[in-house]
């Protein structure tokens, strides 16, 4: 796998998703794409660009502003063997379709003892920055992950995004794919072959011995930054990308903690009742005796996302806060802490808090 990635093309997450959609439409006659904006000139952040021209209106379906109905229509199409990929441009729009998702999509397989299934992918985009405000910047992954019968995944890199999409649509279950808006522009190597195990569980993104950092989605990038800085003072942090939130496979995290004895989980969504709660609870149940320090969690605080950028800095955990939690878990001395802080400060290059990188100019 590592080898094939070496030789691979560099794609942004958005490009990788677009490739996944195109390949799915190509390979699977039952697959179709549906959502508000899938035929737009801007193509859902570039992820659907050109698909309509190639596959036509019957397989790339623009929809009315009817999230509940078209989610249910996708479920209905599954009953005859179709494999829809739908997209809502913000997680919040999906809140209109929770009934279809939770009551129908998640339960029809069980109800029919597997005679029917709902092999659909539901792409949801997590907003952040550029003043999105309270109703356009929620993440809510643990809400989806709380529902048996759904699969829920959050890619942190291009290849996973494509492979989750393609594995999901080839599979037999409804997959909620949460795409972070700040990752769409992030590039990474993408091999030709699809990794069929991408939905099987977490992956170690960086090896380490002193501490285990578990993160999802965009927070994996912040965790890797923190791990980089920690390395400067001789701390090796293992960084695990949780990837699949349901079904949740925590054995690799357990193994890591058995070695490191220290755990910090960083959520993309809210800290309270976030994925970190389940991870920390499970690890505490299973590995209590291996914990050398209390486990720790980071995530969004218990309030809505405000629009003003001056309120964003204290809302989103960054590498700095991750390093600080790590320092607590490790009982690092003051000198080392300051050193790590300085490194992160320098590397941040005065980036603005409400945009992912200087090329991101909004408004979306």
């Amino acid at each position: 796998m590592a080898d094939s990635l070496q030789a691979a093309r560099l794609l942004s997450v958005a490009e990788a998703i677009r490739e996944g959609l195109e390949r799915a439409l190509d390979e699977i006659p039952e697959a179709f794409v549906m959502g508000e904006g899938v035929t737009d000139p801007k193509g859902i952040f570039g992820t659907t660009t050109g698909l309509m021209d190639r596959f036509g209106k019957e397989r790339v379906i623009e929809t009315p502003i009817s999230e509940n109905a078209f989610t249910g229509i996708a479920v209905g199409a599954c009953l005859l063997g179709q494999r829809p990929i739908i997209v809502h441009q913000r997680v919040e729009f999906m809140l209109l379709a929770m009934e279809q998702l939770i009551n129908n999509a998640a339960k029809l397989r069980y109800l029919t003892r597997g005679r029917q299934s709902v092999p659909m992918v539901i792409r949801l985009v997590i907003g952040r920055g550029w003043g999105q405000g309270p109703q356009h910047a929620q993440s809510l992954e643990s809400v989806f992950a709380a529902i048996p019968g759904l699969k829920v995944a959050m890619p942190s890199r291009a290849v996973d995004a494509r492979d989750m999409l393609m594995t999901g649509i080839r599979g037999g279950d409804p997959l909620v794919l949460l795409e972070h808006r700040w990752l769409h522009g992030v590039r990474g190597p993408v091999a030709d072959d699809v990794d069929p195990d991408v939905l099987s569980g977490p992956v170690v993104r960086r090896e380490g011995e002193d501490l285990t950092l578990v993160a999802t989605s965009y927070m994996v990038l912040e965790a890797l930054r923190a791990a980089d800085a920690l390395a400067a003072v001789g701390i090796t942090a293992e960084v695990i990308d949780l990837r699949v939130l349901r079904p949740l496979e925590l054995a690799p995290i357990g193994e890591s903690v058995r070695r490191t004895g220290r755990l910090v989980v960083i959520d993309t969504g809210h800290r309270t009742l976030g994925m970190g709660a389940e991870v920390v609870a499970t690890i505490s149940e299973r590995q209590l005796s291996h914990l050398k320090a209390p486990p720790r969690r980071l995530g969004l605080p218990d309030r809505p996302a405000a629009s003003a950028r001056s309120l964003a800095a204290s809302f989103y955990p960054r590498a700095e806060e991750i390093a600080r939690e790590a320092a607590e878990a490790l009982g690092m001395d003051t000198e080392d802490r300051l050193h790590v802080e300085r490194i992160l400060d320098e590397r941040r290059e005065h980036r603005l808090v409400d945009v992912p990188d200087p090329s991101f100019q909004g408004p979306f």
């Binding site: 249910g72 009953l79 005859l80 279809q100 029917q116 037999g172």
Partner: protein, 323 residues
């Protein structure tokens, strides 16, 4: 007025009587507490389900709501599998996972019964969309009550179906009530067919007590839907005779105006069609008696088989959550 089709009328009559007798048998045995799930009986409303399902071909697929016994049987469902489902048995059409509120049976062409009002309507349109995408014949038929008209799901779905001119027929069973609440306390006064107009869909209004009228209107709707004219709406007036959920008469609760139920029973779809059949010479006391005997012995046997069937084993409880 079309010529009286004796054969059709007889088939309709047989189906009406059979469904009525099944529902009455469930009502009679429900107090035994062996059917341990909520049941929404169709007594009084059979004319709509039978009239709308008899013209269907095997390609046509039905989706229903919480009150779906009549639809299941009219569409050719397996009576024993239905009763087994209501008894929570492994041999039920959902293996006991769903109960009465989730009757569904892919083979019979009842693709889903969903007890969340309005929730099956998008599914039905998804089925119609899939039929078109797969170049398969067949119309999706969605049954709904007058209450489902109040759900946003219905309107969003009708708009989508009309936009894409999908082959779907909405059969609206207007029994005038949502649980205990009459239509006038839930919707402003206007004909229910106006709801179709809102989405550019012309509708037909029929008496759900008149099997032949429903049947004829459904045939018209099916022809239109099959020919690409887009979604069709059939509004059928009808009456529920028993309580909303459960086996009993509940007229004593006083939520209906006095005499309403009695008048409704005068319009009984079975009696109406029976009278027509008698007039035509197709039905007489002897044949009627034979029919009832036949139906009842089938029902008794089905109950016996359902009751005797095994309950789902706890060892299988965790199966089929994921594929």
């Amino acid at each position: 007025m079309a010529k009286f089709d004796r054969d059709l009328a007889w088939r309709g009559y047989r189906a009406l009587v059979r469904i009525r007798e099944v529902e009455l048998a469930i009502a009679a045995r429900y107090p035994d507490q062996e059917m341990r799930c909520p049941v929404h009986l169709s007594v009084g409303q059979e004319g709509v389900a039978v009239g709308a399902c008899l013209p269907l071909s095997a390609d046509d697929l039905v989706l229903a709501g919480h009150r779906s016994h009549a639809q299941y049987l009219a569409k050719g469902g397996d009576l024993t599998a239905m009763l087994a489902e209501i008894h929570g048995r492994e041999t039920g059409c959902c293996g006991g996972r769903g109960g009465s509120m989730h009757l569904l049976d892919v083979e019979a062409g009842l693709l889903a019964s969903i007890p969340i009002v309005g929730s099956h309507l998008p599914l039905a349109v998804g089925v119609a969309l899939a039929r078109r995408q797969r170049r398969e014949p067949g119309v999706a038929v969605a049954f709904l009550g007058d209450g489902a008209v109040e759900t946003g799901a219905f309107h969003e779905t009708l708009n989508f179906a009309a936009l894409h001119r999908l082959p779907v027929v909405f059969v609206l069973e207007d029994n005038g009530y949502s649980v205990y609440t009459p239509l006038a306390e839930r919707q402003p006064p206007r004909p229910l067919t106006d709801v179709g107009l809102s989405h550019g869909v012309e509708g037909q209004s029929v008496s759900g007590d008149d099997f032949l009228e429903v049947h004829a209107a459904m045939e018209t709707a099916l022809v239109a839907a099959r020919s690409g004219a887009g979604p069709q709406l059939l509004v059928a007036s009808t009456s529920r005779w028993l309580e909303h959920c459960g086996p009993y008469d509940d007229d004593h609760l006083g939520y209906r105006p006095q005499g309403e139920l009695e008048r409704a029973k005068q319009r009984c779809p079975i009696r109406r069609l029976g009278d027509q059949l008698r007039k035509s010479g197709e039905l007489d006391d002897r044949r009627e008696k034979a029919l009832y005997a036949d139906v009842r012995s089938e029902i008794d046997a089905a109950f016996a088989a359902a009751f005797a069937a095994p309950q789902p084993s706890a060892a299988t409880a965790a199966e089929h959550v994921y594929g």
